[in-house]
């Protein structure tokens, strides 16, 4: 009898995604769905969608979803989690969402130690709106609003959110992973599972920053995009765990 070793996670719908072919949002979605399946929490999970490429989350996850205004997902998630502490609540946000318009919400939600999980997809651009500069855009990187390349004198420096948030007491887990090759995907899978585990164990706020290519707006092929992640993004946005709470030492 052949044995099935690979199948669609229950928490993922079978709807074809709208993402550009080759985009790693689909991979990230799958990893989140696998984590939800792993902990058997699909029926008590609530997703908070942001604006940007990931807004159609409710089409792809078989869970209840609420759509938050641009950047405000952590505040909406706070309200959901406070009203339903027994539920698993996660936000899924881009870098424009989390590191620009929603900086205040993410910092304070993390600082309160809200027991939620944040999946933060960093592709260094505003994908949905056509590739404008993001707070994470690399120095020298050309975007539609930094046509001469990002210059720190006018635009400041790319923000390292995972490191910054790791400094906050309320954070239980902050890590950066990537999806540029199969090994990186496996590491990302572990990290996302860990982030949900933190929430399941009521350890506090968890964040996984996922480096992701946006080859459409970077104007390169999908494979060249993965290469850029490895050669240009990772040197500035190092992978690794920046904070991991091991016990309920915060109590």
């Amino acid at each position: 009898m052949p044995q099935q070793v690979f199948k669609r996670p229950r928490a993922l719908s079978d709807k074809p995604t709208h993402f550009c072919p080759g985009c790693t949002h689909g991979t990230a979605h799958r990893l989140v769905a696998e984590a939800i399946d792993y902990f058997g929490v699909q029926e008590r999970t609530i997703g908070v969608a942001c604006v940007g490429c990931a807004v159609f989350m409710y089409d792809y996850f078989n869970v209840d979803v609420i759509e938050a205004p641009h950047g405000r997902a952590p505040a909406v998630a706070t309200g959901v989690k406070r009203a339903q502490p027994e539920k698993i609540v996660f936000t899924y946000q881009g870098d424009g969402d989390l590191a620009a318009i929603g900086t205040s919400e993410i910092i304070h939600t993390a600082n309160r130690g809200e027991n939620i999980t944040v999946i933060f997809v960093n592709n260094t651009v505003y994908g949905m709106t056509g590739g404008q500069m993001a707070p994470t855009t690399l120095l020298g990187q050309q975007t539609t609003t930094s046509p001469y390349g990002r210059d720190f004198r006018t635009d400041g420096y790319p923000i390292r959110m995972a490191e910054m948030l790791a400094t906050l007491e309320g954070v239980a887990y902050s890590t950066r992973v990537s999806l540029h090759n199969p090994k990186a995907v496996l590491n990302a899978k572990k990290a996302i599972r860990k982030a949900f585990e933190m929430q399941v164990n009521e350890m506090g706020f968890s964040l996984v920053e996922v480096l992701s290519a946006c080859h459409t707006n970077w104007r390169v092929s999908p494979l060249a995009g993965q290469k850029k992640v490895e050669e240009e993004m990772i040197p500035y946005f190092p992978l690794g765990v920046f904070k991991e709470r091991t016990g309920k030492d915060f109590l």
């Binding site: 699909q42 029926e43 008590r44 999970t45 609530i46 908070v48 969608a49 807004v55 159609f56 409710y58 996850f61 078989n62 869970v63 209840d64 979803v65 609420i66 759509e67 938050a68 205004p69 405000r72 505040a75 909406v76 998630a77 706070t78 309200g79 959901v80 989690k81 406070r82 009203a83 339903q84 539920k87 205040s104 919400e105 910092i107 304070h108 309160r112």
Partner: protein, 358 residues
């Protein structure tokens, strides 16, 4: 006889929220409404609820959105500048049909303005305020007792129609103390919320969203919202009428201004001038029919507001076309005296031309 307590408007409102089953408050301090979060920070936890002082009004309203989307009664409160920051969230809630209560204890603007009483946020409250085609349900108390009663009513209407509701009051109503009964006059209504996002345990996954990209979907959604607002307009207007049956002039005023007008009407009647009052209690839905009927009988109309003429526009839309409408307003923290209003009543009676600038 119900027990009366000498109590501050803001506190009566906060107590009403707890009695109405509100268990989640998220807010950010701003004068002149701070008694509300201060009271709730003390009493909500005792009632099994949660109080969070958020980092901003933007965060506050979005936390309210999350808690309300969970099926709970949730609220926030603020004043002018803070309400401006909440408009984005209120638009999203109207769009995804999530109820909530937002309290605006108005202070005078625009901008930082001052903390003294005004009615300058009428447009912002009654015209939606945020982006898109929507309305808030707006209730305007005129006493501490109504700060209590209408807060309960606001929660009920919000849930009934799955729409943000607003209490629009001012610094006087928030800060003054009056005797009031803190017992609901009727049993408080609660509503089933099968639409709430509570995890897809007993149902298919469901979504609370505002994004409709497919051809015609957004329009269909907005038309459905319009139907709801039409229904609210038809069924929920509240108003108070006083001394209009024999009136030669009818004054339209809401909230604090209506109390001053009541005194002015007494003064007028002592002088033999037959003045009456129509006081809108709901500002959306505006009691257009009541204003129309009164202005049809009594062709002289005077609108008194603590702004430069915002509700005036609703009166103009509603009034009989032959009504002679006058306006008196004190914007920017100035509170009209009954004598000033009496003088305006006299002037309006003798003037033939329409609206006058303040």
């Amino acid at each position: 006889m119900k027990d009366l307590q000498l109590i501050k408007g803001n506190v009566a409102l906060a107590e009403a929220a707890i009695q109405a089953g509100c268990r989640y408050y998220f807010g950010y301090p701003i004068t002149p409404q701070n008694d509300i979060p201060e009271y709730l920070s003390e009493h909500l936890p005792k009632a099994g609820g949660i109080f969070i002082q958020a980092e901003s009004e933007i965060a506050s309203i979005n936390m309210v959105m999350g808690a309300s989307a969970s099926g709970a009664r949730a609220m926030t409160s603020s004043s002018g500048p803070g309400i401006s920051l909440m408009q984005e969230g209120m638009s999203y809630m109207a769009g995804s049909e999530i109820p909530c209560l937002v309290v605006n204890i108005m202070r005078c603007g625009p901008g930082l303005g001052g903390i003294s009483p005004t009615q300058g946020d009428y447009f912002q409250a009654t015209r939606g305020g945020g982006h898109g085609d929507y309305y808030n349900i707006v209730l305007a108390p005129a006493s501490v007792q109504e700060m209590f009663n209408l807060t309960i009513k606001a929660f009920e209407l919000a849930d009934k129609y799955r729409n943000p509701a607003m209490i629009l009051a001012d610094a006087i109503l928030g800060q003054m103390k009056e005797p009031a009964s803190l017992e609901p006059t009727e049993p408080i209504q609660f509503f089933d919320k099968p639409w709430a996002i509570t995890g897809a345990k007993d149902h298919k996954p469901q979504y609370l969203k505002t994004l409709y990209l497919n051809d015609g979907e957004q329009e269909a959604h907005n038309l459905q919202l319009k139907e709801k607002y039409d229904h609210i307009r038809e069924n929920e207007p509240l108003y108070e009428e006083q001394a209009t049956s024999d009136a030669e002039i009818v004054i339209v005023a809401f909230g604090t201004a209506s109390r001053i007008v009541k005194t002015a009407i007494k003064l007028a009647r002592e002088e033999g001038i037959r003045a009456g009052l129509v006081r809108p209690i709901t500002l959306f839905p505006f009691p257009s029919k009541a204003v129309y009927e009164a202005s049809k009988r009594v062709r002289k109309v005077l609108v008194v507001e603590m702004n430069t003429g915002q509700m005036l526009t609703d009166v103009q839309i509603s009034a009989h076309r032959e009504a002679d409408i006058h306006f008196y307003g004190r914007p920017g923290g100035g509170v009209p005296t009954p004598e000033e209003v009496l003088a305006e009543i006299k002037r309006s009676i003798h003037a033939t031309a329409g609206i006058q600038a303040p």
